[in-house]
Symmetry: C2
Subunit: 331 residues, 2 copies
């Protein structure tokens, strides 16, 4: 049995992505086989495509899917025909994918497959960084950089709905900032026009924020340090602004009792992802089911347009998720 | 009423320390007045003496004392005559000191005042960094730099006795390393003769340690990063090896999911110190009371010899604590 899937010819740009014929993956114990209807594009896919990740051991790209269960192992509570979404260990950009059964989330009845594919990676990352690493507490203040990104749009909603946090975001256009406001952001800052640290100190009475979700890294280092409160948790999940910081003064981290945590989701082990998915299902899914938190989709590309989809993300043009339509059922 | 106490004439070296006559401090509500028998010297005192701390608002040096209660506020459960030890907000190098009553620990009957003065700062710091910040779990592996220092000798014992941790220490002499071994260290490394990261990777099967207590900072940066396990907690509590790291690669912190936390104890607020003292009293004091954990004293100087005591610490000659005898009762 053959299927279509996207592989990387050799490390490089979007032009290296190729739609090709591959064998349908074989089910291991505890796994389900999913007929994929929609996958989604993530920064981690781009890093893998460029050959910089070092942790992908699946030649097919893609870390999340939504689709229908077509085979289930005996131990699973899932049935053939169930509509599911979740994280896969690579292999998402394809017509069929395997997933550990205990990592699958049922797609709420009110969501399409495209909306289902827009949930796992960004919402689980946002949940992990805000709560497991950032220890965000009720009514604290959180700074979310790249507020209009996939993780950003998820984090704004989670922080606002679950924790009634004061949410401050940065983004690079009026349109993006307006959208973040609609999602619940209390204060939006255009990093191209304003010094975000000065703005933040002003709206926090000079205290700074309790949690920072930092996708930017080096270029924001000093301003993040100036923006963080005593005892603040600074979570580093991307280096879009460079990975190497010159001259780090450790005394500044000590004087403010800063907790700086680096994290990634994709290379974590199965147990971690399962536990994260389980807690997310309990705490956050109810908000999605009743519609107070929404998956945010920017554009859906067909799987044949995958190179275009990658380029679109690299140009930072998206507000929310970029979806790949794989099957013919998008409802 | 006058008393003797040590002040700093102007920011500078040990020669700036002066024994002078001062008024006995006035008791505020919720405080106790202690007739000090012994105080102890800490790195934070040296930083304050040099004028680099910025958080001392007591002209008398010293952050910990042991002595006898001579006045107690009505709300306190402590009685005049009780033998107590604990953290003070400055003012420790003096014949009398005030302390928030809920921060006083009773000195176990088996300990002298000198031993009492050797406990609060280093044991509370070691407890805070190992458990509150470093989240050390049973049977994990911990790397303790400056193992023969005050905090080092406290941390070795706490990690070993409370958590049955695998304890790895670094120090700069054979004598210091031998002493750390006697306290329970499983592996000792002379940083002057061996590359500690290589040794650590060897004894941890290439995994690295779960927690690092880092008093050193910049000069150990790369080796600490090489020595830490995935998901490791790296606690920064001193910069004896320099405060500024030239190039920090954030991707390395992300790839290992490192949590790097800066912390200090002295500038924390009263509530923090009270809660820390309370938990320490419950969890760790029983080990001290039954003698399985011991305060480690290197040398006791008289208060008149305070400049010598500071110089002794700055020369890194001590194994364990340096005590200042203030009263005439050292039993």
């Amino acid at each position: 049995m053959k299927m279509k899937g996207i592989i990387v010819k050799k490390p490089g740009g979007p032009e290296q992505l190729e739609l090709t014929e591959l064998p349908i993956p074989v089910l291991s114990d505890g796994e389900i086989l999913i007929k994929v209807e929609a996958a989604a594009v993530n920064r981690t896919d781009i890093v893998t495509r460029e050959g910089k990740a070092g942790y992908a051991n699946n030649e097919i790209l893609g870390v999340e899917v939504a689709g229908t269960v077509v085979k289930s192992s005996r131990t699973s509570r899932l049935q053939v025909g169930d509509r599911v979404m979740g994280l896969v260990n690579g292999g998402g950009y394809a017509q069929y994918a395997v997933m550990p059964a205990n990592r699958a989330l049922k797609i709420p009845g009110n969501f399409s497959f495209a909306e289902g594919a827009a949930i796992p990676e960004v919402f689980l990352t946002a949940y992990q960084t805000l709560y497991w690493i950032g220890k965000l507490k009720q009514h604290e203040t959180v700074l979310i950089h790249a507020g209009a990104s996939g993780v950003g749009t998820a984090a704004i909603q989670l922080a606002k709905q679950i924790s009634e946090a004061k949410v401050i975001v940065t983004a690079g256009s009026k349109e993006k900032l307006e959208f973040c406001k609609q999602l619940g952001a209390d204060k939006v800052i255009n990093y191209k026009e304003q010094s975000f640290d000065e703005e933040i100190l002003q709206v926090t009475d000079g205290k700074g924020v309790d949690v920072i979700l930092d996708f930017i890294g080096a270029s924001y280092w000093k301003k993040n340090l100036a923006s963080i409160n005593k005892g603040g948790r600074w979570v580093l999940i991307g280096v879009l602004g460079g990975g190497v910081v010159d001259k780090v003064n450790l005394m500044e981290l000590m004087a403010k009792y800063v907790q700086l945590s680096g994290t990634l989701l994709t290379p974590r082990d199965d147990e971690y992802k399962t536990n994260l998915t389980k807690e997310f299902a309990e705490i956050a899914m109810p908000y999605l089911e009743r519609g107070s938190i929404k998956p945010i989709i920017d554009t859906a590309f067909s799987i044949e347009e995958v190179a275009k989809a990658h380029q679109y993300m690299e140009d930072n043009r998206n507000i929310g998720k970029i979806i790949l339509q794989v099957g013919d059922r998008t409802y």
